[in-house]
């Protein structure tokens, strides 16, 4: 379970203060596929990065499985991050490593025995349908394939939570659906809690059971996906819905 309590992230300069996050509170339950939706610059990237402390909040609390992790550092922080997988918009695969060695990377960091981690990595590659690409390099793969490798890599340490930062934004529609199906099965079958940030309602609709809408650093609406889509309360949500139906029509 991820609990975010009164989170602020403020960037100060001499003249002004910018609140990237402005009193954000939300709860992600175990087994959720939780969508955080907003336009670019709304603060969703910052919010997700606070969950594994890639960004340090200015104030407020991040509580994971009942433990306040906001001020963790050193070994404890490393331990926390090993329990949280993450995938990125641009895949962030290591270009000088083979696909197999990319997936083994998180295990290598823990000095896991090489044989074991290779077995684990091959299982994961099999799961994402890329067993035959193990010895290839990322440059030889398509975008969708690269994101599959990134998903396998994020699962290497058997995390209970997976953070997805605009994971499908760089992909075409067909590939997006395939990746979302994969994430859905990881959520349903492996029971991994997924936090997905996206600017696309269609993406959130495809896999999320609950969503929160963020605008200018504030959560303006949250609830079950169905509820929010049927009865949008906030202006921003209506605007997003309106725009999307125009695009889809």
């Amino acid at each position: 379970m991820i609990q975010i309590e009164h989170l602020f992230k403020t960037y100060s300069s001499a003249q002004s203060q910018h609140h990237a996050l402005n009193d954000v509170s939300l709860t992600v339950n175990d087994g959720d596929a939780f969508g955080i939706i907003g336009e670019s610059g709304a603060g969703k990237s910052t919010l997700v990065r606070c969950m594994n402390l890639l960004e340090r909040p200015t104030s407020g609390k991040v509580i994971i499985d009942g433990k306040d992790v906001t001020n963790l550092s050193g070994k404890d922080l490393i331990e926390l991050r090993r329990g949280i997988g993450m995938i990125f918009q641009n895949f962030s695969l290591f270009q000088q490593r083979t696909v197999l060695r990319n997936v083994m990377f998180p295990l290598e960091l823990q000095h896991a025995p090489k044989g074991e981690s290779e077995t684990r990595a091959r299982e994961l590659l099999d799961m994402v349908g890329l067993a035959d690409k193990a010895e290839n390099y990322p440059v030889q793969l398509s975008g969708g394939q690269q994101q599959r490798v990134a998903i396998a890599r994020a699962l290497a340490t058997k995390p209970s939570i997976m953070l997805c930062d605009e994971a499908t934004s760089a992909l075409d529609t067909m590939t997006t659906h395939a990746i979302l199906d994969l994430l859905k099965s990881i959520n349903k079958e492996l029971g991994v809690t997924i936090v997905l940030i996206t600017h696309s309602l269609a993406v959130a609709d495809a896999i999320c059971n609950r969503i929160a809408v963020i605008d200018a650093g504030r959560i303006v609406e949250q609830g079950s996906t169905h509820e929010v889509f049927e009865h949008p309360q906030a202006e921003v949500t209506r605007a997003l819905l309106g725009m999307e139906s125009q695009v889809l029509a």
Binding site: L54, I78, S92, Q96, V139
Partner: protein
């Protein structure tokens, strides 16, 4: 033809020795300048304001040291370092005497090139590694150094070639090598044929090093399909 045979009979051994000295001087000093330059370059990147372990004061001091090293003309450094060189290798003459100033001159240059190479690494990769729980040290050698390897290799050939030039200057203070031959025979005795021979040898050496460096960098770079 006969002239060429005569020329080699007279100067062949001298030029071979000079070439060997130059290659040894350059090779050994390139090696040691990386031994010093890689840690400095890594520290500059790691302690920078946007680095993994920002440390303003340390970074500034390191930057000054590197800049001071880079702003002293080599020919002056060469002379200024003579007492230090004697203390380190026991002599300021010959190949060992040249290696010390060459390393001191090249290390800051190498540090800057290493810094450049590391800065080319996608920050997204560093962030990804952090998200998997990588320590600072693991990010340095598993992400920064590994991902920038092709660029580092290209830097090595640039350093090597720069040091060829520097080693010729070291020749003027008794280091031996091709530079020394060019000065003594070409400049002091007006023997242009010997001077041209040294130039041709240097051109060939530079070409070989550049080609090997390019080839190695290309072969090692997995971003090429």
């Amino acid at each position: 033809m006969e002239w060429l045979q005569g020329f080699f009979a007279q100067y062949g051994a001298l030029l071979a020795q000079g070439t060997w000295d130059t290659v040894v001087m350059t090779f050994v000093s390139t090696f040691f300048s990386y031994v010093l330059g890689i840690p400095i370059g890594v520290l500059v990147v790691v302690t920078a304001a946007d680095g993994l372990r920002p440390h303003r004061a340390f970074n500034a001091v390191l930057g000054w040291i590197v800049n001071i090293g880079r702003s002293i003309p080599f020919i002056i450094l060469l002379v200024a370092l003579i007492p230090f060189t004697r203390w380190v290798v026991g002599t300021s003459l010959g190949v060992p005497g040249a290696i010390v100033p060459l390393v001191i001159a090249a290390a800051p240059f190498v540090a800057r090139m290493v810094e450049q190479s590391l800065r080319e690494v996608d920050p997204g990769l560093v962030e990804a590694a952090q998200s998997f729980g990588a320590s600072t040290w693991q990010i340095v050698y598993k992400v920064f150094l590994k991902e920038s390897l092709p660029s580092l290799i290209r830097g090595i050939s640039i350093t090597f070639i720069t040091l060829f030039g520097y080693s010729a200057m070291a020749g003027t203070v008794g280091a031996g090598g091709l530079g020394d031959i060019a000065i003594r025979y070409g400049y002091q005795r007006y023997q242009n044929d010997v001077m041209f021979a040294t130039i041709i040898i240097l051109i060939i050496l530079v070409q070989i090093v550049q080609s090997c460096g390019d080839l190695a960098a290309r072969k090692l770079d997995k971003r090429n399909r």
